[in-house]
């Protein structure tokens, strides 16, 4: 008489409850795992991004000071900056061994700057001076203004003063 209720309440119902509970628990675990897998992918990406960010930050921070200095120079008008720097440089050199005889600027991108979309100008300078003093002056000028790319250089002996040379220099100056 009680066989069916016993089987129902004693076996089927607990079995269903157990199956439901286990299913619920497994479902919950699978949901957590799915969420975890998704987070893991994001996390892996995050870790890679963090490493990349740290690497980039290190690389960038090491050059940031240079970049600031470059940007400062690039933002100046080329010819006036050359003049300004030249005055500073020439003040430390013997006047007899170095003389700026002419200078001018051609706006627009030609020469080395003609192939780049980046803005540039041509700065032409003419000097009289001794070889080594001029070389020192160029070293100083090009160190102060790395945006200067030598486009042309002509050296001829001076007709009047044998110890002095005539130098004609054309620079391509990158500008911002």
């Amino acid at each position: 008489m009680y066989k069916q209720p016993i089987i129902f309440f004693g076996l089927i119902l607990p079995l269903l409850a157990a199956v439901a509970l286990i299913s619920a628990v497994l479902y919950g675990k699978s949901e957590v795992e799915a969420s975890f897998n998704e987070k893991s992918q994001h996390y892996a990406g995050f870790e890679m991004t963090t490493k990349a960010a740290m690497g980039l930050e290190k690389a960038v921070s090491q050059k940031r000071a240079h970049m600031e200095r470059w940007q400062n120079g690039l933002s100046q008008e080329s010819l006036s900056e050359v003049n300004k720097q030249w005055k500073t440089i020439s003040a430390t050199l013997p006047n007899k061994e170095i003389q700026l005889s002419a200078y001018d600027k051609t706006a627009g991108s030609t020469g080395l700057g003609g192939v780049s979309a980046q803005k540039s100008s041509q700065v032409r300078l003419a000097f009289r001076g001794t070889y080594r003093t001029m070389q020192k002056a160029f070293l100083d000028l090009e160190s102060r203004m790395p945006q200067l790319q030598l486009q042309e250089l002509k050296i001829d002996p001076s007709q009047n003063q044998s110890s002095l040379l005539n130098l004609q220099v054309t620079y391509t100056a990158w500008e911002n």
Binding site: K3, G10, L11, P14, K29, F36, V60, S116, F138, L153
Partner: protein
């Protein structure tokens, strides 16, 4: 209970222990309300022993009556139907239709199947103890404690137990005489130990039935049993102790013995029925016959004479259902364990997951980091762009250093003019653009300088010069071991038309006409578009 005394015992089936039970009086049995104070104590005591149910087995030994079955019943195969009919329609199986069958409880006891007599006998007990057993079942309901009852006929239990203790003479019939205080029962067996007949003789206030010897003799004769063994079982404290001796005197040619009684610490020797009832009959018992096999397998001796009504029985689960309940309890334990293990396993897994740093990761952090990377990447790209644009690809001071080191002092060479140019080599659509650097030097050379100029006018010679400049100045543009660069030198040497062979003192050493040769030197260095120093064609990012 045998009319003269009431023996009560507790028995734990699991441990096999027996204990003295509660004290019952005649008043308890006759006046059920007087049991009210006793029954809860029994349940309480049972619970205290750790039992989960109580079985009340009543061995009725104060009455035992038999009645002939309807002579028309001859088919032993219908014993199961007879068993059912004895319970629910006893009048249909009795020979004497005048017996008020419904006033007693009837059961069947089959005889041996040798067709010499009836197929069995009907055994009846009065329903006088039915209220007692009802009271036990009711207290079970009240106390919410499972109580089942069973009323057994004590003589039938003893007959079942004979198989374990009796060793009759081979090929000789025997009679077992069961002495109870209020009646004597006789069980007649043939030479194969098959039950032929059970008779009951009431004592009617005496110590033994008045017609006992006559009844024994006539029944033996009617069953055609020749000199059967006689076994006497004294099953009461106040039974006639002289019967055994009398029988030995009366039947000197027959084996007359007392059935070996039990020896037990708790049970008296005159009351073996409880012990027999709880001891499963062995298949290797001393007596092997159809009767004892049937008693063992069909459980004729343990028929419940006072079982609850069908309606009352249906209220409670039967044994099969109880077994099923017990079995399902273990199944539920298994299910609970499975659920528990699953929950633990899943919980461990979830805890392990939650403890990972990935779980507590906030995606917003990734967004900010991604923004940082984008920002740094942009900054890096800009830096790299300007590193390229501001690279020392063409510098005046290095060009002058190169010229100085190209012609060492006292080398017999005088430079007349020097020009240098750098020009791009446009290639539409290229990200970077190559360029060409060209050095042109005109000068004068003495005889001793020709060898030097010839050495310079080789690949090795000009490469060595450029490598020296790269090393001294640290300028990468002069490196020659980069595959994207080519370096070509060309020196043309001519006789100096103005050369004068006169070596007088008025001709200066550095005068143009003091050098026998003129030369023009052209060096061309080409950087292709894949060179690290190639110029970015795009605008700064």
């Amino acid at each position: 209970m045998d009319g003269a005394s009431i023996l009560s015992l507790y028995h734990d089936r699991e441990t096999g222990l027996w204990q003295t039970g509660p004290t019952f009086t005649e008043e308890h049995l006759r006046n059920i309300p007087s049991l009210e104070s006793l029954l809860p104590g029994i349940v309480k005591h049972t619970r205290s022993l750790g039992a989960k149910s109580l079985g009340v087995v009543l061995h009725i030994a104060d009455e035992f009556a038999t009645a002939e079955l309807n002579p028309g019943i001859t088919n032993l195969d219908s014993l199961e139907e007879l068993r059912a009919a004895s319970q629910y329609d006893p009048s249909s199986i009795l020979a004497d239709t005048s017996i008020p069958a419904d006033q007693a409880s009837w059961r069947i006891m089959p005889y041996a199947a040798d067709q010499r007599g009836p197929v069995g006998t009907a055994i009846s007990l009065s329903r006088q103890y039915e209220p007692l057993l009802n009271a036990f079942r009711n207290i079970g309901e009240e106390e919410n404690f499972p109580v089942i009852t069973q009323a057994l006929s004590a003589p039938l239990i003893v007959i079942q137990g004979l198989g374990q203790v009796l060793h009759p003479t081979a090929q000789r019939p025997f009679v077992v005489i069961l002495q109870y205080p209020w009646f004597t029962a006789m069980a007649f067996f043939d030479e194969r130990a098959n039950l032929l007949l059970i008779r009951s003789l009431q004592h009617r206030g005496l110590r033994r039935p008045t017609n006992f010897r006559h009844a024994l003799t006539t029944t033996t004769a009617s069953l055609e049993l020749i000199d059967p063994d006689l076994y006497v079982a004294q099953l009461g404290q106040v039974v006639d102790q002289t019967l055994l001796a009398d029988l030995k005197l009366t039947f000197p040619n027959q084996r007359v013995e007392e059935v070996i009684s039990i020896r037990h610490d708790e049970l008296p020797a005159w009351a073996p029925e409880p012990l027999i009832a709880v001891t499963p009959p062995s298949e290797t018992s001393a007596l092997q016959s159809e009767t004892f096999t049937s008693l063992r397998e069909d459980k004729w001796a343990t028929q419940d004479f006072l079982q609850p009504s069908r309606e009352a029985k249906e209220v409670f689960p039967d044994q099969g259902e109880m077994r099923m309940l017990r079995a399902l309890k273990y199944v539920r334990y298994g299910l609970f364990l499975a659920v528990f293990l699953a929950v633990v396993w899943c919980s461990m897994g979830i805890i392990q997951i939650i403890r990972q740093p990935e779980w507590s990761f906030n995606p917003q952090e990734a967004a900010s980091t991604t923004m940082k990377v984008a920002k740094y990447s942009q900054e890096k790209k800009k830096i790299e762009y300007w590193e390229n644009m501001l690279a020392d690809r063409s510098k005046a001071w290095i060009t002058m250093e190169s010229l100085v080191r190209l012609f060492p002092e006292q080398s017999g060479i005088q430079v007349e003019s020097f020009s240098y140019s750098a020009r791009p080599e446009p290639a539409p659509g290229q990200v970077t653009v190559g360029f060409v650097k060209e050095w042109k030097i005109n000068g004068l050379a003495r005889e001793e300088a020709l060898e030097f100029l010839n050495a310079l006018n080789t690949r090795e010679g000009i490469d060595a010069h450029f490598d020296q400049i790269a090393k001294v100045t640290g300028n990468e543009a002069y490196q020659t071991d980069i595959a994207t660069r080519t370096l070509v030198v060309n020196i043309r040497t001519l006789e100096n038309s103005s050369y004068k062979t006169d070596t007088s003192a008025d001709i200066k050493d550095t005068g143009k006409n003091s050098f026998p040769y003129t030369f023009d030197l052209t060096i061309t260095q080409r950087f292709d578009a894949k060179d690290p120093m190639a110029i970015n064609s795009a605008k700064a990012p």
